[in-house]
Amino acid sequence: MSLAKVAVVCGFMALLLSACGIQAKPEAGTPHLRHQKGFHGLVDDPRLPQVSCLKSDKLPYREYYADGVQHLPAIQVGARAQGPTMIFYPTDGIAQGLQIMGQETGAEVIGALLVYPNSARSSELTKVEACAAIGVKG
């Protein structure tokens, strides 16, 4: 066997023996779990495209979670109760269902979002609606 082949085989053996591939999982309760190596969970935050859109439109916004057990991801554009509010539901169907059942009459349904216009200016609302519509099919 040539020297090069021996070197390749040794390299692979070293990799195998070092078992450097598999990271141990962090224990439950570890602080900052999501940033630990070996933890495969990942929050699929639905707000990312909208945040990026609002940023490019230079609109002031704040990300937060709506109160309650549901802990719904939300974005407040501008000042609370004045600027538009976006609340993200898990599916389009839930958002649509809330409107059909008359539970959220003060909101526009855009995909899985309920957008509350509040007392926003028309130009601002147009931009927010365009951002809310990102990724919405149909």
């Binding site: 692979f12 990799l15 195998l16 078992a19 591939g21 598999i22 990271q23 141990a24 999982k25 962090p26 224990e27 439950a28 309760g29 570890t30 779990l33 999501r34 933890f39 495969h40 969970g41 990942l42 929050v43 699929d44 935050d45 639905p46 057990v69 549901q70 802990h71 719904l72 991801p73 993200f88 898990p90 599916t91 899985a112």
Partner: protein
């Protein structure tokens, strides 16, 4: 190594090519025409490999679904423990052992493990070329390579940590060995067939149907052939199958145990939709299938003339067709007794289907390449054939993981999703499924699973589990979304849908439990099975 060919000179691919394929001179740029033949082929194969990687790596890092998590969970065990665990799982061990070594080198992340399948899928391109070349000449080889590079089946399974891409590669070797070994009567290819069949038996149980289908295809070959092929055919075949059997002997006791104790209770018996399933999962949809089949049939049209019916090329086509047909037929019949039918199990015959198609198209003059080109345009759409969202457990893990503490309890409504939850949640948690406590959540014990599941009365199991919880401890209940009808009508899955609701009712009615959180907050849909999760705390 003697070949027994005495009549037609089938062993020289160039001779076949000249007789087999009507000449079509394609207008190519001069610099390409000036390249040596081997360099042109190498260039085309390189382009095909790169194109297939572009198509097949867009979702390479995406999350697992339950089957993949079970595979990774089993393969993460110590090497010596894997065969024992496989007895409870029901699959053969080869892919799991390969994945074990692969993970030691590159890790158990999603992209890392998907790449193993990616490599097997890429290898089908040059091997497909070689097979097509050896069976029907260069054009058939290049067309086989192109079909393997754009195969919708491999688009899907090259990004899945399961054995199907490996099975396709082995099926390719098996098919080449079968045709060259028995139709061309080259004994070294009989050995290739025998070894491939043994490796397939170690990879997936559908190798049994492939093996049995090949026996029936041999019978067809025997029936239509003259002495030049019949001579020693039966002897060579017996050696091939005995050889494969001997190689499989070490696993045979485990196989018998698995066959008698584990089953696929989530599956239902197939009806008559196999052609539709092949069109969808192997060819990539009705449009692509129609285009390719038209190109193929134009090529084979000559075989309907009496003069060509007994030609060697007609024999190759008929034997390939028989191999595909009998493998599917046997799988279909067996699945009427014990369901084992799923388009992903077609992996061993995908190469034969592609090769049969490519050989036909290579005979179709200008129609063949045109059909191939149009089909490639339809197939060259990333994300169409690979699911964008297999599950939502990664998100559930991401949302719930940081809220959980050591020794909290995780209850999984669908037992086979336990390894998926285990993969995405942190360490130090206790696991239970709707069957009862789970000692090792990294795999599923399928031994007599259905009777055990039916025997697990929720009114007894749930209180026993909850009584072990101390005040302040949490319980995460993960249950499948069962909104669709297909997939939830098998004996196992219909039981899961019902049990998950029964467990949900008992947990929600428990006055000692308070809801703390729910997930997911962003559900994008899932190709396979998705879940919802509720986190309770004991007051």
């Amino acid at each position: 190594m003697a070949t027994t060919t005495t009549g037609e000179k089938l062993s020289i691919p160039e001779a076949i090519e000249s007789a087999f394929i009507p000449d079509v001179d394609f207008p190519l740029p001069r610099f390409i025409k000036e390249l040596p033949a081997w360099a042109r082929v190498a260039l085309i194969l390189f382009i095909l490999v790169v194109a297939s990687l572009v198509l097949r790596t867009r979702s390479v890092g995406q999350q697992y679904w339950m089957d993949e998590a079970i595979t990774v969970g089993i393969s993460a065990h110590h090497l010596s423990a894997i065969p024992g665990i496989m007895r409870q799982d029901g699959s053969p061990p080869l892919f799991y052992l390969l994945l074990h070594f692969w993970m030691l080198m590159v890790g158990n992340g999603m992209a890392a493990t998907h790449w193993l399948s990616e490599i097997f899928a890429v290898l089908t391109i040059p091997v497909g070329y070689w097979g097509g070349l050896r069976i029907a000449g260069k054009r058939a080889g290049l067309m086989t390579a192109a079909l393997m590079a754009s195969s919708a089946f491999l688009d899907y399974y090259s990004q899945e940590t399961r054995m199907y891409a490996l099975m396709t590669l082995l099926g390719m070797f098996g098919t080449i060995g079968f045709i060259r070994g028995f139709v061309f009567r080259e004994r070294r290819f009989v050995i290739l067939f025998s070894v491939s069949e043994a490796l397939m038996l170690y990879t997936h149980n559908w190798a049994l149907f492939f093996g049995a289908g090949s026996v029936l295809a041999l019978a067809v070959l025997y029936r239509i052939s003259g002495e030049e092929i019949r001579e020693n055919l039966i002897r060579d075949a017996i050696f091939a199958y005995i050889g494969a059997g001997i190689l499989f002997l070490p696993w045979l006791p485990n196989f018998i145990f698995q066959s008698t104790h584990t089953a696929a209770p989530w599956n239902t018996s197939p009806r008559f939709g196999a052609p539709v399933q092949i069109a969808q999962s192997v060819y990539g949809g009705a449009t692509v299938a129609s285009i390719l089949v038209i190109g193929m049939l134009v090529g084979y049209a000559g075989f309907f003339r009496k003069a060509e019916r007994a030609s060697p090329k007609a024999k190759i086509a008929l034997v390939l067709f028989s191999l595909i047909f009998f493998t599917l037929l046997l799988g279909w019949i067996a699945s009427q007794i014990t369901p084992a039918w799923n388009p992903r199990y077609f992996a061993p015959i995908v190469p034969a289907i592609m090769m049969l198609t490519a050989i036909g198209m290579s005979r179709a003059g200008v129609v063949g390449p045109l059909c191939l080109l149009v089909a490639l345009i339809f197939l060259a759409r990333p994300d169409v054939y690979a699911p964008q969202h297999k599950s939502d457990m990664q998100d559930i893990g991401g949302e719930m993981g940081p809220l959980m503490h050591q020794h909290d309890l995780v209850i999984v409504g669908q037992p086979e999703q336990t390894p998926l939850a285990y993969y995405y949640l942190p360490a130090g948690l206790r696991f239970s499924s709707t069957i009862g406590p789970v000692k090792d959540p990294s795999f599923v014990n399928w031994i007599n699973a259905l009777p055990r599941y039916r025997a697990a009365n929720p009114n007894k199991v749930v209180p026993a589990e909850l009584s072990k919880l101390k005040k302040g401890q949490q319980v995460l209940y993960i249950r499948p979304l069962t909104e669709g009808e297909t997939g939830w009508d098998a004996p196992w899955t219909s039981e899961i849908r019902r049990r998950s609701a029964q467990w949900g009712k008992i947990l929600s009615a428990d006055t000692q439990l308070t809801v703390e959180a729910t997930a997911p907050h962003n559900y994008r849909g899932a190709c396979c099975v998705a879940d919802s999760a509720i986190l309770y705390v004991k007051k």
